[in-house]
C-alpha cells in the first residue's frame, strides 16, 4: 500500500516538475535579453574590473601585482587632488544647481505673461552639447578676448582669469553648470505646478507670507522631487568629466598635436576630476590595473548614493500606500 502510494506520488511528481521546468524555461527565455545584457555589460565588466585591479595591465599583458595598485592610490597626489575637486563640486555645485533650478522654476511659474518664452529661454542652454557649451563659456570669460572681462573692465571692475587661476576655475565651472540648469528647472516646474492651489489659499487665509508658503507648503510637497534632483545631481557630479576636460584644455591652450603636452586639471590640478584622472590612467598611461582601482571606488561611492535614492523612493511609495 505504502509502496503503491509512494509509487503514485513518485509517478505524479515528475509530471508536475516537467510543467514547472517548462514554465521556468519559458520565464528564463523571456528574461534572457536582460540576463545576457546584465551579464555582458554589468556582471562581467565588474568582475573583470576587480580582477584587473590586482594586476599590472597595459591592455595587452597581465601581471599579478597584489595590492600594488591600491597602495599606489595612497601615494598618488593627483588622485587625492581629483577626489578633493570632485567633493568640492558635489558640495558646492549640486546644492547651487538645485537651489538655482528651483528658484528659476518658481519665477517662471509666477510669470503673468511670456511664460512659454521664458521657459524656452531658460531651458535652451541645457540642450547645448557639453563640449560646445563649455567652449563658448571659456571664450566668453577669456581674459584676452572674452566680452565678459571686457565689460567688467569697462565698468572699472576687476575680472579674474577664470580658467587660468586655480582659485577661480571651479567657480567658473559652477557658473557653467548654473547656466545650463534648464533640465532641473523643467522637473521643478512640473512639481510646482502639481502643488494643490487650495493649500496656498488656506495658508494665505491663515496669514502665511510668501516665504512661509514656500517653506511650509511648497517645499514639503515637492520634497521627493528635490531629493531626486539632489541625489541624481550627486551621481552625475561624481562622473563630471567633459566640461572640466574641455575647459582646462582650452584655457591651457594645449592642442592634441605631437610634441605638445596637455596638463590635466590645468591650472595646478584645480579642474582635475576623479573620472578624468581615471581616464588618463587607463587610456593615456596604459595603467589599466590602477584605473580599475579608481573605477571601483567611483562605483562604490555612486552605489551609496543610488541606494539613498532607492530608499527615498521606497519611503515615498510607502507614504503613498
Amino acid at each position: 500500500m505504502a509502496t503503491t502510494a509512494l509509487g503514485r506520488r513518485g509517478g505524479a511528481a515528475p509530471a508536475r516538475l516537467r510543467g514547472r521546468n517548462r514554465g521556468g524555461l519559458t520565464a528564463l527565455l523571456f528574461l534572457s535579453p536582460w540576463l545576457i545584457g546584465f551579464s555582458v555589460f554589468f556582471a562581467y565588466p565588474l568582475l573583470a574590473t576587480v580582477y584587473f585591479s590586482f594586476h599590472r595591465y597595459d591592455l595587452f599583458t597581465l601581471e599579478w601585482v597584489g595590492l600594488l595598485n591600491y597602495r599606489y592610490l595612497l601615494r598618488d597626489e593627483a588622485a587625492w587632488t581629483a577626489i578633493r575637486n570632485t567633493l568640492w563640486l558635489v558640495v558646492v555645485m549640486v546644492p547651487l544647481r538645485v537651489a538655482f533650478g528651483l528658484g528659476v522654476a518658481q519665477l517662471v511659474t509666477r510669470l503673468k505673461a511670456g511664460t512659454g518664452f521664458f521657459r524656452t529661454i531658460f531651458y535652451l542652454p541645457s540642450l547645448v552639447p557639453l563640449v560646445a557649451g563649455t567652449l563658448g563659456f571659456v571664450f566668453l570669460l577669456n581674459p584676452g578676448t572674452g566680452p565678459v572681462p571686457a565689460i567688467l573692465s569697462g565698468l572699472g571692475l576687476p575680472s579674474p582669469d577664470w580658467f587660468g587661476d586655480p582659485s577661480w576655475a571651479k567657480p567658473g565651472l559652477t557658473l557653467l553648470a548654473l547656466w545650463s540648469v534648464g533640465d532641473l528647472m523643467v522637473i521643478f516646474l512640473a512639481a510646482l505646478l502639481d502643488v494643490p492651489k487650495q493649500l496656498y489659499e488656506a495658508a494665505a487665509l491663515d496669514g502665511a507670507g510668501p516665504w512661509q508658503q514656500f517653506f511650509l507648503v511648497t517645499l514639503p510637497v515637492i520634497r521627493p522631487v528635490v531629493m531626486f534632483a539632489a541625489v541624481t545631481g550627486v551621481i552625475q557630479t561624481l562622473q563630471y568629466f567633459t566640461q572640466a576636460m574641455v575647459a582646462s584644455r582650452v584655457a591651457s591652450g594645449a592642442t592634441d598635436s605631437a610634441g605638445t603636452v596637455f596638463v590635466p586639471g590645468y591650472p595646478d590640478g584645480s579642474t582635475l576630476t576623479f573620472p578624468e584622472w581615471l581616464f588618463h590612467q587607463g587610456f593615456r598611461d596604459f595603467a589599466m590595473g590602477y584605473a580599475c582601482v579608481l573605477a571601483l571606488i567611483l562605483f562604490a561611492v555612486s552605489m551609496v548614493f543610488t541606494l539613498i535614492l532607492l530608499r527615498q523612493f521606497r519611503g515615498l511609495t510607502e507614504e503613498e500606500a
Binding site: 521546468n21 595587452f60 597626489e77 605631437a258 596604459f286
Partner: protein, 442 residues
C-alpha cells in the same frame, strides 16, 4: 537541464574570454638574409594619420614609387587614424598590415607590449645599414633592445624670427641674448598691456613644451634605469629660473592675458605669422605654413639659443618624428615590411614626402639628395637634424606622464604659485619614480 546548461554556459564564457583576449600572436618566421621576396600578388592595408588633401596627395605620390617597384603588392590606405584606433584594432585581432603614428610618446608601450612587431630580424635580413639614420633616431624608435618602429620623416625644432620686427638684430645665440632681445622688441600700450611680444617664455605657449626647450640647457630627463633625472640636473633649474625671470619682467598676469588673446597655433592666425610675436620656438613644418598662409612674411630661422655657459650646444635641437611599423597580427608581414622599408629608407620616397610636406627626411642620404628642395630657412632644420648633439626624449613607458608632471611644475613655478624650486623638482622626481614602479615594476 542543468547538465545541458552547464556546458553551454562554460562554452559561452570561454567564447567571451576569447573575445576579450588582447589580440593574437601571429609572429612570422624571421626572414632570411638574401632570400627573394615572395611575389605572389597580395593586398596589404595601411593606416596613417594624414588627413589634409595636400598630405594625402603627397603620401599617394610617395606610394606611386612603391607600386612601381613592387607591382605585386597593392596598398589600401586608410586616412586620419589615431593611436587609439591602432591599439583597438590589435586588441580586436584585426589590425592593418602597416600602421603609422605621428607621436613617439607611445613607442615604449608599443615595443614592450609587442603591439608592434620587433623589426630587427627584418632589418638584418634586408641588410639595411642603420648608419643611414642619425643616432638620435634609435632613441625614439626602440625600447629595451626592441626596434618596433622605423622613422618616416622627422621633426626638428628651432627658432623663428620676424626680420621686420627684429629691425636688423641678429638672432640670439644664448638665453641672455634671447631675454634681452625679447624685452627690447616687446611693445606695450599705455596701460602696460602687451601688443607685440619679443618672445613668450611661458611653458604653455605653443611649442615651448619642456621636451623642446630643455635642449637649450642640455637638460636630462631620465637616468639609464628609467627613474627621473630632473631634480638632480641643475640644467632644469637654470631653464626654469630663466623662464620665471622673463615671465616676471612681462608680468605673469599681463603675459597670460596676451597669450590668451593669440590665435590658434595651427591656423593662419598664428601670432608669429601675424607679427604679434617677434621670435618663437617652432618645428620645421612652420615654413610650409608660412608659405601657404603668410607668404609675405619676412622671416628667418636659426638654431635654438642655448645656456650662456654651454655654447657647445648651439646648433643642436630637439628631434622626434613620425614612426611606422607592423602591428602584431598583421596578415601579410613580409609585404608590409617591404612597404615600411621603402617609406623609411628609400631616398626618393623620403625626398618626395619631404618636398611636399616640408618635414625633415629621416635618413642622412636623403638629407644630401640633390632632389631635396632647400632654402636657407628649411636648411636650418636639416642641419639641426644632422647635428650629432641633437637630442630627443628617449622612449619611456610613462613618456606623456613624465612630460605632464614637469610641465605642471613649470607652470606653478613661472606663475609664482610655488615657493621652493628644489622642493618642486623633488616632488617631480617622486611622482615620476612612483609611477614607474606602478607601470614597470622595480
Amino acid at each position: 537541464m542543468r547538465s545541458r546548461l552547464l556546458p553551454v554556459a562554460v562554452a559561452a564564457l570561454a567564447l567571451l574570454a576569447a573575445a576579450c583576449t588582447a589580440g593574437t600572436e601571429n609572429r612570422p618566421a624571421a626572414p632570411q638574409a638574401g632570400s627573394t621576396p615572395d611575389r605572389t600578388p597580395v593586398t596589404i592595408t595601411m593606416w596613417h594619420g594624414f588627413s589634409a588633401d595636400s598630405e594625402i596627395k603627397a603620401f599617394d605620390d610617395a606610394l606611386a614609387g612603391f607600386r612601381a617597384a613592387h607591382p605585386w603588392i597593392t596598398v589600401k590606405t586608410t586616412k586620419a587614424i589615431q593611436d587609439d584606433q591602432i591599439i583597438q584594432s590589435v586588441r580586436g585581432g584585426n589590425p592593418p598590415d602597416v600602421a603609422l603614428s605621428f607621436t613617439t610618446d607611445n613607442v615604449a608601450t608599443f615595443c614592450k607590449t609587442g603591439l608592434f612587431q620587433d623589426l630587427k630580424p627584418y632589418l638584418a635580413a634586408s641588410g639595411v645599414d642603420e648608419a643611414i639614420f642619425p643616432k638620435v633616431v634609435a632613441e625614439y624608435t626602440q625600447y629595451e633592445g626592441k626596434r618596433c618602429v622605423m622613422p618616416m620623416l622627422a621633426d626638428a625644432y628651432g627658432l623663428y624670427y620676424n626680420k621686420k620686427l627684429m629691425d636688423g638684430a641678429q638672432p640670439p645665440k644664448t638665453l641672455s641674448e634671447l631675454a634681452e632681445l625679447a624685452k627690447k622688441l616687446t611693445v606695450r600700450d599705455e596701460d602696460g598691456n602687451i601688443e607685440v611680444a619679443g618672445f613668450v617664455p611661458s611653458t604653455q605657449m605653443y611649442e615651448n613644451a619642456p621636451i623642446h626647450t630643455g635642449v637649450m640647457v642640455g637638460a636630462k630627463w631620465i637616468n639609464p634605469d628609467g627613474t627621473s633625472a630632473i631634480g638632480a640636473d641643475p640644467a632644469w633649474k637654470q631653464l626654469m629660473n630663466w623662464q620665471k625671470d622673463l615671465v616676471g619682467w612681462f608680468g605673469h598676469e599681463k603675459l597670460e592675458k596676451f597669450r590668451k588673446s593669440l590665435g590658434d597655433e595651427w591656423s593662419a592666425d598664428n601670432p608669429f605669422m601675424k607679427g604679434k610675436v617677434a621670435m618663437a620656438v617652432d618645428g620645421e613644418w612652420r615654413n610650409a605654413m608660412i608659405a601657404h598662409d603668410a607668404p609675405g612674411l619676412d622671416y628667418g630661422t636659426a638654431p635654438l639659443p642655448v645656456a650662456d655657459d654651454k655654447p657647445q650646444l648651439y646648433g643642436a635641437g630637439f628631434i622626434a618624428g613620425t614612426v611606422i611599423g607592423i602591428p602584431r597580427g598583421a596578415e601579410h608581414p613580409d609585404a608590409a615590411w617591404q612597404l615600411v622599408k621603402y617609406l623609411t629608407t628609400d631616398t626618393d620616397a623620403l625626398v618626395t614626402l619631404s618636398n611636399a610636406l616640408r618635414n625633415v627626411p629621416s635618413t642622412l642620404p636623403a638629407l644630401k639628395s640633390p632632389k631635396l628642395k632647400k632654402d636657407p630657412n628649411f636648411q636650418t632644420f636639416l642641419d639641426i637634424f644632422a647635428n650629432p648633439a641633437s637630442s630627443t626624449l628617449p622612449a619611456h613607458l610613462n613618456s606623456v606622464f613624465n612630460q605632464q608632471t614637469l610641465s605642471d611644475a613649470q607652470i606653478k613655478w613661472e606663475s609664482g604659485r610655488a615657493a621652493d624650486l628644489d622642493e618642486l623638482l623633488a616632488e617631480v622626481d617622486t611622482t615620476i619614480n612612483e609611477k614607474l614602479k606602478l607601470t614597470a615594476g622595480g
